[in-house]
Symmetry: C2
Subunit: 155 residues, 2 copies
DNA sequence: TATTGTTATACTCTATAACTATA
DNA sequence: TATAGTTATAGAGTATAACAATA
Protein backbone atom coordinates (compact mmCIF):
# COMPACT_ATOMS: atom_id res chain seq x y z
CA UNK A 1 0.00 0.00 0.00
CA UNK A 2 1.21 3.49 -0.76
CA UNK A 3 -1.04 4.83 1.97
CA UNK A 4 0.35 4.64 5.47
CA UNK A 5 -1.95 2.50 7.61
CA UNK A 6 -3.23 4.32 10.65
CA UNK A 7 -2.14 7.75 9.49
CA UNK A 8 -4.82 10.43 9.60
CA UNK A 9 -3.20 12.27 6.70
CA UNK A 10 -4.00 10.56 3.40
CA UNK A 11 -1.31 10.14 0.77
CA UNK A 12 -2.89 12.09 -2.05
CA UNK A 13 -0.76 10.42 -4.68
CA UNK A 14 -3.10 7.45 -4.34
CA UNK A 15 -2.45 3.79 -5.04
CA UNK A 16 0.41 3.51 -7.49
CA UNK A 17 -0.21 0.09 -9.06
CA UNK A 18 -3.14 -2.12 -10.10
CA UNK A 19 -2.54 -4.49 -7.22
CA UNK A 20 -3.14 -1.70 -4.71
CA UNK A 21 -6.29 -0.74 -6.57
CA UNK A 22 -7.57 -4.31 -6.45
CA UNK A 23 -6.86 -4.49 -2.71
CA UNK A 24 -8.53 -1.16 -2.09
CA UNK A 25 -11.69 -1.99 -4.02
CA UNK A 26 -11.91 -5.38 -2.35
CA UNK A 27 -11.38 -3.96 1.14
CA UNK A 28 -14.01 -1.32 0.50
CA UNK A 29 -16.48 -3.83 -0.87
CA UNK A 30 -16.06 -6.22 2.05
CA UNK A 31 -16.27 -3.43 4.61
CA UNK A 32 -19.41 -1.96 3.08
CA UNK A 33 -21.04 -5.40 3.00
CA UNK A 34 -20.09 -6.03 6.63
CA UNK A 35 -21.46 -2.69 7.79
CA UNK A 36 -24.67 -3.18 5.81
CA UNK A 37 -25.05 -6.61 7.34
CA UNK A 38 -24.44 -5.35 10.88
CA UNK A 39 -26.88 -2.47 10.46
CA UNK A 40 -29.60 -4.81 9.20
CA UNK A 41 -28.85 -7.38 11.87
CA UNK A 42 -28.77 -5.03 14.85
CA UNK A 43 -32.08 -3.41 14.03
CA UNK A 44 -34.89 -5.42 15.63
CA UNK A 45 -36.83 -5.36 12.41
CA UNK A 46 -40.51 -5.50 13.20
CA UNK A 47 -41.17 -6.18 9.53
CA UNK A 48 -39.80 -8.72 7.04
CA UNK A 49 -37.33 -7.22 4.54
CA UNK A 50 -39.64 -7.42 1.53
CA UNK A 51 -42.48 -5.71 3.40
CA UNK A 52 -40.20 -2.97 4.67
CA UNK A 53 -38.78 -2.40 1.19
CA UNK A 54 -42.25 -1.84 -0.29
CA UNK A 55 -43.15 0.51 2.55
CA UNK A 56 -40.08 2.63 1.81
CA UNK A 57 -41.02 2.77 -1.90
CA UNK A 58 -44.41 4.18 -0.98
CA UNK A 59 -43.05 7.01 1.15
CA UNK A 60 -42.70 9.54 -1.69
CA UNK A 61 -46.25 8.82 -2.90
CA UNK A 62 -48.84 6.16 -3.82
CA UNK A 63 -48.09 3.52 -6.45
CA UNK A 64 -50.01 0.72 -8.14
CA UNK A 65 -49.30 -2.96 -7.40
CA UNK A 66 -47.90 -3.31 -10.92
CA UNK A 67 -45.45 -0.46 -10.42
CA UNK A 68 -44.38 -1.90 -7.06
CA UNK A 69 -43.85 -5.35 -8.59
CA UNK A 70 -41.61 -3.89 -11.29
CA UNK A 71 -39.59 -1.76 -8.85
CA UNK A 72 -39.09 -4.66 -6.43
CA UNK A 73 -38.51 -7.11 -9.28
CA UNK A 74 -41.04 -9.63 -8.09
CA UNK A 75 -44.09 -11.09 -9.87
CA UNK A 76 -47.49 -9.42 -9.78
CA UNK A 77 -49.06 -12.20 -7.66
CA UNK A 78 -46.25 -11.87 -5.13
CA UNK A 79 -46.90 -8.16 -4.85
CA UNK A 80 -50.63 -8.82 -4.41
CA UNK A 81 -49.76 -10.91 -1.35
CA UNK A 82 -47.22 -8.44 -0.03
CA UNK A 83 -49.68 -5.55 -0.32
CA UNK A 84 -52.37 -7.66 1.35
CA UNK A 85 -50.00 -8.33 4.26
CA UNK A 86 -49.26 -4.62 4.63
CA UNK A 87 -52.98 -3.77 4.47
CA UNK A 88 -53.62 -6.38 7.17
CA UNK A 89 -51.17 -4.60 9.44
CA UNK A 90 -52.65 -1.20 8.72
CA UNK A 91 -49.40 0.06 7.16
CA UNK A 92 -50.84 0.80 3.70
CA UNK A 93 -54.27 1.36 2.16
CA UNK A 94 -55.73 0.08 -1.09
CA UNK A 95 -58.13 2.21 -3.12
CA UNK A 96 -59.65 1.91 -6.57
CA UNK A 97 -58.31 4.35 -9.15
CA UNK A 98 -61.22 6.72 -9.98
CA UNK A 99 -60.07 7.15 -13.61
CA UNK A 100 -59.03 3.62 -14.63
CA UNK A 101 -60.92 1.21 -12.45
CA UNK A 102 -58.70 -1.72 -13.36
CA UNK A 103 -55.96 -0.12 -11.33
CA UNK A 104 -55.43 -0.02 -7.58
CA UNK A 105 -53.78 2.79 -5.66
CA UNK A 106 -51.58 1.66 -2.79
CA UNK A 107 -50.68 4.37 -0.27
CA UNK A 108 -48.69 4.34 2.96
CA UNK A 109 -50.59 5.16 6.17
CA UNK A 110 -49.47 7.30 9.08
CA UNK A 111 -48.73 4.10 10.97
CA UNK A 112 -46.60 2.88 8.07
CA UNK A 113 -44.66 6.13 7.92
CA UNK A 114 -44.08 5.96 11.66
CA UNK A 115 -42.75 2.40 11.41
CA UNK A 116 -40.30 3.34 8.66
CA UNK A 117 -39.15 6.34 10.69
CA UNK A 118 -38.65 4.22 13.81
CA UNK A 119 -36.63 1.61 11.92
CA UNK A 120 -34.50 4.31 10.30
CA UNK A 121 -33.86 5.92 13.68
CA UNK A 122 -32.78 2.57 15.09
CA UNK A 123 -30.37 1.89 12.23
CA UNK A 124 -29.03 5.42 12.34
CA UNK A 125 -28.42 5.18 16.07
CA UNK A 126 -26.28 2.08 15.59
CA UNK A 127 -24.08 3.81 13.04
CA UNK A 128 -23.99 7.19 14.82
CA UNK A 129 -22.83 5.72 18.12
CA UNK A 130 -19.87 4.14 16.34
CA UNK A 131 -18.94 7.14 14.21
CA UNK A 132 -19.12 9.35 17.33
CA UNK A 133 -16.28 7.34 18.89
CA UNK A 134 -13.89 8.21 16.06
CA UNK A 135 -11.47 11.12 16.17
CA UNK A 136 -12.41 14.37 14.37
CA UNK A 137 -9.71 13.59 11.81
CA UNK A 138 -11.18 10.17 11.10
CA UNK A 139 -14.65 11.67 10.85
CA UNK A 140 -13.35 14.19 8.33
CA UNK A 141 -11.90 11.43 6.17
CA UNK A 142 -15.22 9.58 6.30
CA UNK A 143 -17.09 12.76 5.34
CA UNK A 144 -14.93 12.97 2.21
CA UNK A 145 -15.26 9.26 1.58
CA UNK A 146 -19.05 9.32 1.91
CA UNK A 147 -19.30 11.67 -1.06
CA UNK A 148 -16.90 9.63 -3.16
CA UNK A 149 -18.68 6.38 -2.28
CA UNK A 150 -22.00 7.95 -3.18
CA UNK A 151 -20.62 8.55 -6.67
CA UNK A 152 -19.42 4.94 -6.82
CA UNK A 153 -22.83 3.63 -5.80
CA UNK A 154 -24.60 5.89 -8.29
CA UNK A 155 -22.54 4.71 -11.29
CA UNK B 1 -21.03 20.40 6.63
CA UNK B 2 -17.65 21.66 7.72
CA UNK B 3 -16.05 19.61 4.97
CA UNK B 4 -16.00 21.19 1.55
CA UNK B 5 -17.95 19.01 -0.86
CA UNK B 6 -15.89 17.89 -3.82
CA UNK B 7 -12.58 18.94 -2.34
CA UNK B 8 -9.88 16.28 -2.40
CA UNK B 9 -8.28 17.71 0.72
CA UNK B 10 -10.23 16.73 3.84
CA UNK B 11 -10.84 19.28 6.58
CA UNK B 12 -9.08 17.53 9.43
CA UNK B 13 -10.94 19.53 12.05
CA UNK B 14 -13.90 17.25 11.39
CA UNK B 15 -17.61 17.89 11.81
CA UNK B 16 -18.16 20.65 14.32
CA UNK B 17 -21.64 19.89 15.64
CA UNK B 18 -23.85 16.88 16.43
CA UNK B 19 -26.06 17.54 13.43
CA UNK B 20 -23.10 17.11 11.09
CA UNK B 21 -22.22 13.89 12.87
CA UNK B 22 -25.74 12.57 12.46
CA UNK B 23 -25.70 13.47 8.77
CA UNK B 24 -22.31 11.87 8.27
CA UNK B 25 -23.20 8.61 9.95
CA UNK B 26 -26.49 8.44 8.07
CA UNK B 27 -24.87 9.19 4.70
CA UNK B 28 -22.24 6.55 5.37
CA UNK B 29 -24.78 3.98 6.44
CA UNK B 30 -27.01 4.52 3.41
CA UNK B 31 -24.07 4.51 1.02
CA UNK B 32 -22.66 1.29 2.46
CA UNK B 33 -26.06 -0.38 2.24
CA UNK B 34 -26.49 0.79 -1.37
CA UNK B 35 -23.08 -0.49 -2.40
CA UNK B 36 -23.64 -3.81 -0.64
CA UNK B 37 -26.96 -4.14 -2.39
CA UNK B 38 -25.54 -3.28 -5.80
CA UNK B 39 -22.65 -5.72 -5.39
CA UNK B 40 -25.03 -8.53 -4.45
CA UNK B 41 -27.49 -7.61 -7.18
CA UNK B 42 -24.99 -7.28 -10.02
CA UNK B 43 -23.32 -10.59 -9.37
CA UNK B 44 -25.14 -13.27 -11.36
CA UNK B 45 -25.22 -15.50 -8.33
CA UNK B 46 -25.23 -19.10 -9.45
CA UNK B 47 -26.17 -20.06 -5.89
CA UNK B 48 -28.88 -18.90 -3.49
CA UNK B 49 -27.56 -16.67 -0.67
CA UNK B 50 -27.98 -19.25 2.10
CA UNK B 51 -26.15 -21.91 0.09
CA UNK B 52 -23.33 -19.54 -0.77
CA UNK B 53 -23.00 -18.46 2.85
CA UNK B 54 -22.55 -22.05 4.05
CA UNK B 55 -20.01 -22.70 1.32
CA UNK B 56 -17.95 -19.72 2.48
CA UNK B 57 -18.08 -20.99 6.08
CA UNK B 58 -16.60 -24.30 4.95
CA UNK B 59 -13.63 -22.73 3.16
CA UNK B 60 -11.33 -22.67 6.21
CA UNK B 61 -12.12 -26.30 7.02
CA UNK B 62 -14.83 -28.96 7.51
CA UNK B 63 -17.66 -28.46 10.03
CA UNK B 64 -20.56 -30.53 11.33
CA UNK B 65 -24.19 -29.73 10.38
CA UNK B 66 -24.79 -28.66 13.99
CA UNK B 67 -21.93 -26.19 13.91
CA UNK B 68 -23.12 -24.81 10.57
CA UNK B 69 -26.67 -24.41 11.89
CA UNK B 70 -25.42 -22.43 14.88
CA UNK B 71 -23.12 -20.21 12.80
CA UNK B 72 -25.83 -19.48 10.22
CA UNK B 73 -28.47 -19.17 12.94
CA UNK B 74 -30.92 -21.58 11.36
CA UNK B 75 -32.49 -24.74 12.76
CA UNK B 76 -30.82 -28.13 12.49
CA UNK B 77 -33.44 -29.48 10.04
CA UNK B 78 -32.93 -26.46 7.79
CA UNK B 79 -29.20 -27.10 7.72
CA UNK B 80 -29.84 -30.75 6.89
CA UNK B 81 -31.71 -29.58 3.79
CA UNK B 82 -29.13 -26.97 2.88
CA UNK B 83 -26.26 -29.45 3.15
CA UNK B 84 -28.25 -31.96 1.08
CA UNK B 85 -28.72 -29.34 -1.63
CA UNK B 86 -24.98 -28.58 -1.67
CA UNK B 87 -24.12 -32.30 -1.80
CA UNK B 88 -26.54 -32.68 -4.71
CA UNK B 89 -24.61 -30.03 -6.62
CA UNK B 90 -21.26 -31.58 -5.81
CA UNK B 91 -20.12 -28.49 -3.88
CA UNK B 92 -19.64 -30.25 -0.52
CA UNK B 93 -19.17 -33.81 0.73
CA UNK B 94 -20.68 -35.56 3.74
CA UNK B 95 -18.70 -38.14 5.68
CA UNK B 96 -19.24 -39.97 8.95
CA UNK B 97 -17.02 -38.86 11.83
CA UNK B 98 -14.70 -41.82 12.54
CA UNK B 99 -14.55 -40.99 16.26
CA UNK B 100 -18.14 -40.03 17.12
CA UNK B 101 -20.40 -41.73 14.63
CA UNK B 102 -23.39 -39.60 15.54
CA UNK B 103 -21.65 -36.71 13.87
CA UNK B 104 -21.27 -35.85 10.20
CA UNK B 105 -18.32 -34.04 8.63
CA UNK B 106 -19.24 -31.59 5.91
CA UNK B 107 -16.36 -30.46 3.70
CA UNK B 108 -16.15 -28.17 0.67
CA UNK B 109 -15.09 -29.78 -2.64
CA UNK B 110 -12.75 -28.40 -5.29
CA UNK B 111 -15.81 -27.48 -7.31
CA UNK B 112 -17.23 -25.63 -4.32
CA UNK B 113 -14.03 -23.70 -3.76
CA UNK B 114 -13.93 -22.77 -7.44
CA UNK B 115 -17.49 -21.48 -7.32
CA UNK B 116 -16.76 -19.29 -4.30
CA UNK B 117 -13.64 -17.94 -6.00
CA UNK B 118 -15.55 -17.17 -9.21
CA UNK B 119 -18.31 -15.34 -7.32
CA UNK B 120 -15.74 -13.34 -5.37
CA UNK B 121 -13.93 -12.39 -8.57
CA UNK B 122 -17.21 -11.24 -10.10
CA UNK B 123 -18.10 -9.08 -7.12
CA UNK B 124 -14.61 -7.67 -6.91
CA UNK B 125 -14.64 -6.81 -10.60
CA UNK B 126 -17.81 -4.77 -10.17
CA UNK B 127 -16.25 -2.68 -7.40
CA UNK B 128 -12.80 -2.45 -8.98
CA UNK B 129 -14.09 -1.10 -12.29
CA UNK B 130 -15.82 1.72 -10.41
CA UNK B 131 -12.95 2.55 -8.10
CA UNK B 132 -10.58 2.60 -11.09
CA UNK B 133 -12.53 5.51 -12.59
CA UNK B 134 -11.84 7.72 -9.56
CA UNK B 135 -8.97 10.18 -9.35
CA UNK B 136 -5.82 9.14 -7.45
CA UNK B 137 -6.78 11.68 -4.76
CA UNK B 138 -10.22 10.13 -4.35
CA UNK B 139 -8.69 6.67 -4.20
CA UNK B 140 -6.33 7.84 -1.48
CA UNK B 141 -9.24 9.13 0.60
CA UNK B 142 -11.04 5.80 0.16
CA UNK B 143 -7.91 3.90 1.20
CA UNK B 144 -7.89 5.89 4.45
CA UNK B 145 -11.63 5.48 4.85
CA UNK B 146 -11.51 1.72 4.30
CA UNK B 147 -9.32 1.32 7.38
CA UNK B 148 -11.51 3.57 9.50
CA UNK B 149 -14.69 1.81 8.33
CA UNK B 150 -13.13 -1.55 9.12
CA UNK B 151 -12.76 -0.36 12.72
CA UNK B 152 -16.39 0.79 12.72
CA UNK B 153 -17.58 -2.58 11.45
CA UNK B 154 -15.45 -4.45 13.96
CA UNK B 155 -16.83 -2.58 16.98
C1' DT C 1 -30.34 -40.57 29.63
C1' DA C 2 -28.17 -36.96 26.62
C1' DT C 3 -26.69 -35.72 22.05
C1' DT C 4 -26.47 -35.58 16.83
C1' DG C 5 -28.85 -35.63 12.99
C1' DT C 6 -32.94 -36.88 10.13
C1' DT C 7 -37.83 -37.29 8.93
C1' DA C 8 -42.81 -35.47 9.35
C1' DT C 9 -45.61 -31.69 8.97
C1' DA C 10 -46.90 -26.93 8.49
C1' DC C 11 -46.26 -21.97 7.36
C1' DT C 12 -44.32 -18.26 4.38
C1' DC C 13 -42.62 -16.26 0.18
C1' DT C 14 -41.78 -17.10 -4.48
C1' DA C 15 -43.26 -18.20 -9.28
C1' DT C 16 -46.19 -19.49 -13.58
C1' DA C 17 -50.78 -20.26 -15.44
C1' DA C 18 -55.58 -19.44 -15.49
C1' DC C 19 -59.23 -16.27 -14.47
C1' DT C 20 -62.07 -11.68 -13.68
C1' DA C 21 -62.94 -7.00 -14.53
C1' DT C 22 -62.16 -3.00 -17.12
C1' DA C 23 -60.49 -0.33 -21.20
C1' DT D 1 -58.26 -7.70 -27.96
C1' DA D 2 -55.14 -5.79 -24.42
C1' DT D 3 -54.22 -4.58 -19.66
C1' DA D 4 -54.39 -4.60 -14.25
C1' DG D 5 -54.97 -7.39 -10.75
C1' DT D 6 -56.42 -11.65 -8.32
C1' DT D 7 -56.90 -16.56 -7.50
C1' DA D 8 -55.05 -21.48 -8.17
C1' DT D 9 -51.39 -24.35 -7.68
C1' DA D 10 -46.73 -25.74 -7.04
C1' DG D 11 -41.76 -25.26 -5.60
C1' DA D 12 -38.25 -23.61 -2.28
C1' DG D 13 -37.07 -21.97 2.24
C1' DT D 14 -38.00 -21.78 7.17
C1' DA D 15 -39.61 -23.74 11.69
C1' DT D 16 -41.19 -27.06 15.59
C1' DA D 17 -42.11 -31.81 17.00
C1' DA D 18 -41.24 -36.61 16.73
C1' DC D 19 -37.93 -40.16 15.66
C1' DA D 20 -33.39 -43.09 14.98
C1' DA D 21 -28.72 -43.86 15.98
C1' DT D 22 -24.90 -43.33 18.93
C1' DA D 23 -22.42 -41.96 23.24
Amino acid sequence: MTVTPGSSVPDLSGPSDPSDLAHLSNDLRLTCMRIARRVRFEATDALAPHLFSVLVRLEPGPLTPGELAEIERVSAPSMTRTVAALVGRGLVTRAADPVDRRQVIVAITGEGTALVAATRAQREAWMASRVARLTPGEQAVLAEAAQILAKVAAQ
